[in-house]
Each structure stands twice: as structure tokens, then as C-alpha cells.
Subunit: 243 residues, 2 copies
Amino acid sequence: MKKINKSSPLPLYYQLKENILAAIQADEFTAGEQLPAERELAEYNNISRMTVKKAVDILVDSGYLIRKQGSGTFITDYQDNYSISPLLSFSQEMQKKGLDYKTKLLKFEIIPAAELAEKLNCQPDDKVYHLERLRIIEAHPFLLENTYLPSYLFPELSKQELSNSSLYQLIQDKYKLKLTNVEAEVEAIMFNDQIAQKMDLKAGSLGLYFEQSSFDAQEQLVEFTSAYYRNNNYKFKFNFNLT
Amino acid sequence: MKKINKSSPLPLYYQLKENILAAIQADEFTAGEQLPAERELAEYNNISRMTVKKAVDILVDSGYLIRKQGSGTFITDYQDNYSISPLLSFSQEMQKKGLDYKTKLLKFEIIPAAELAEKLNCQPDDKVYHLERLRIIEAHPFLLENTYLPSYLFPELSKQELSNSSLYQLIQDKYKLKLTNVEAEVEAIMFNDQIAQKMDLKAGSLGLYFEQSSFDAQEQLVEFTSAYYRNNNYKFKFNFNLT
DNA sequence: TACAACATGTGGTCTATACCAATTATAATA
DNA sequence: TATTATAATTGGTATAGACCACATGTTGTA
């Protein structure tokens, strides 16, 4: 790895960040390999450990590195997100387009909201339903979604029901909830091993990460979904009205 | 704002981060307001400035705060982050959030629709305006967009006007067109050399590619825009109503 | 050999201080 | 009054050291 230049006008942490990045991209370090320890990098460049930390922080933040306390910092094979999620009415869309589709319910459980409490607008120990579903179009996995539903809004929700009808249908018909507003956020990511495998892709494949909250007329949060979209022929499309 | 508890097992920076966040959410600070100076927060909580900085870093990163060297750190309008696509009215969005922004008009020309004819719903030899604009937030390129406007809808459109007011403003005020519906499509891409350079990024950087068509009440296409989004703190967010 | 205790190496947090860079307020001056 | 110079304030970068928390390797003992 290149040494930093103390007489350069560029900040030291910035130079180090660039140098580490260059080293990774030049395959001087490969995926899974351990980065030299912070103290070592500090000594090597003759700078303080806090400055090294700042450089590493940036790369950890952007997904190039992963810190493991007590063990070391490692080069990733790109990006490291965890959960997953859905869309509004997948079934309806697919039927309208006349596409052959399938939904695989990978998980159905009741869990404490925990760190999702804020997003779900409830307490950390409140119970929520968690559904993990894989959406398949024309035999190709397209979308992996994790949906969270506050349990108090959905009494007697069963796995059986979900297998028979769409969640959207249930929300409307059984629970008489009328979704009126959706907030969403999207970003580009590279899939990690876990996600890629479920989507039948290679780790590092390009895709979209989506978070969505749906509200009813009383501004009450009805569902929160995070989803991974495959970047393929079936592009993510949406439209909305301006009022 | 609550003071941090030094005997708590929680890290000091974490407590401070939470306290600032709570204060923001309790409207103790409001959008646009200045956060107490780092040195002040340090003294108030009897901790070092570096620790304050770490807490503030996190909130800056997640978009709650903005730093302005020499001037201060300010609360952003986080609640309003969920709104319509910034593609629609970039200027309005930025003003609402109190962000410093700039638009650089890279190109202004009249060209035949050619291969865009289908998307613009016109003939290949019909004339269209083409604008290439770089959107800059807080001195960082954020979004590169190419907008196409059917020339028959925009008589006497001048470069001058575009430099002075927002396109959205012009569409509404000068041309009396009322946008009522937007169709959009998004996918994850890696920027090529050309795009990356304009966005001040390295080729291969991850981002979003966007295509958007806006229609008026008569279902008439008013503008078509394709855009490249940088994958950074200012996430692309939108919301829409279901009707 | 199996296990427990310890030592070592790693990142995590925190301090107190120093000086730089950009902005803004204030005072001095023309 | 208008302009310019200066001071004060704010965030930006950087240091050297300290101790904590976690993971793993080593060693001594049963």
C-alpha cells in the first residue's frame, strides 16, 4: 500500500482512505482478507490511530470493510445489509400484466419489534408479525421482501390465510383497513451472499433496496416492508398522482 | 436537552446522539435552527469535543443535521423528507429542507426527437428541447438529469429563463400546464466514465438510473426526464396516494 | 487429553489539547 | 457611510495516550 504524504494539502485520513481503497481495487487485498490492524496502519504511515480510524470509518460506512471487535477489520465481498421486504399488491400487478407469478412464504413468525420499533411506530417489546416472502415471475426470483405488521391490527392472522390470498387482499377485506398513503425510499445496492443466494444470483449482483411504510386514512402505520429487487427485465415501476 | 449520564453503560456519544435526536423530535429544535456549538455541547455534558463530534457525525450521516464550517450545525427538515420526487421540483424540495443547492445547466438545445420519439409520444423529426442539468446539494453533485420537452408545448423557452427560475415553475406559471400524473421507473446501475466524471465519482460507482414521464390532466405528455442519482445521504424518497 | 486461566491482539470509547479553515461579527479607517 | 481590517466563533483535522470489551491463542493444571 502507498504511504501517505504528510506535506500534501489533502487531509491525512482522506489520503489513507484513498490508499486503502486503491489497494483493495488493485487486489492487493482480496475479499475476506484482514486489513492490517489500526495500530499497524498508524505506525506504518506515522499518523495517529484516531486518524486511521477515521479513514477506516468511511470505508466501513460505504461497505468496503467490516469491523469485528476483538478480531480485526476485513475486506468485504461487497455490501452487508441484512433484512428484506415487499410491494403493495404484487398479485394484482402480475395479473394485470398477465405474467405467471408465484409467492413463496419463507417465514411467518411473531417477534418483538425490537430495533424496528421506531419504524413501526410502536414499543420495542410490542409483538409484530414478520413475513418473509420471495416473489417469483416467470420462474425467476424477482423480489425478496420482509413485511412487518403490528400484531394489534391483525388479530388471528394465520399462515394458512396468507398462503391462500394476497396480504393486500387480507388487509382490505378481512381487516377492513384502507391504505391511503405510502412512503418509500430506494437505493442501489450490491447483494450480499445471503440475499443473492435466495434471489438465485451471485453475491455482488446489482439491485435495489427498498423500504416502504403504508398508512391508512388515520395516518396509522399498517405495514412496513423492506425489499430487495433484482435488477432485471422486470423493472421497478411506479406512478403517482400530484394533488 | 437531557444531559448524558456518565455512569450509564451506554457509550457517551450514543447517549448524546439519542438526546439530540429526542430534542429534535420533541421540537426542542426546529428545522433550520442551529444546534448548540460542539464546544458548548461538550461543556454542557462535561465530555470532550471529540465525543460530541462523534454523536453529531452520526446524525449528519443520517440526514438529521448539516454541518457548515465556520457557521454552525443545523437541523434539517427531516419530517419533510418524505415527499414527492425531487425530480419534480428540485428547487422546492431543497428550499423546504433548508439545504444549500445549485443547478448547473450543462446543455440547452433543440434537437429532433429521433429515438426518443416513442417515449415523448411524437414523431422522430419533431423538435424537442433538451436540457442537461447537474443538481448540486451542499457542494456535492447529487443528480444528473436530461430533460426533454416537446417544443410545441413550450414556445419561446429561453436559456435565460431557465437560469432564473425552476423548470417546474415555468411549466406551471408561464405555460399554464398542470402536471397531474407521473410515471417513473428506476433501476440500479454502475456509472460509466462519462457519467461518473460529471458526478465527481469514480467510474463503476453505484447509483440509480431513473426515467420519468409527467402528464397533465389531458393525459398529454409534458416532459420526459432521465436521471442519474448518486447513492448517498440524500436518499431518493417519494410518497404517493392510493386512489 | 480436556479444560480453565491467562496473555495477547484487536477494535471501541474517550480525553485534553492543538492548530487550521471558513464564516460572521465587530471595530477601525477612509 | 462604505469599506477594510481584525477578532471571535464555528467546524475540520490531528495527536498521543488511556482504558474497556471482545476474540483468540497459549499455557498450566487436573
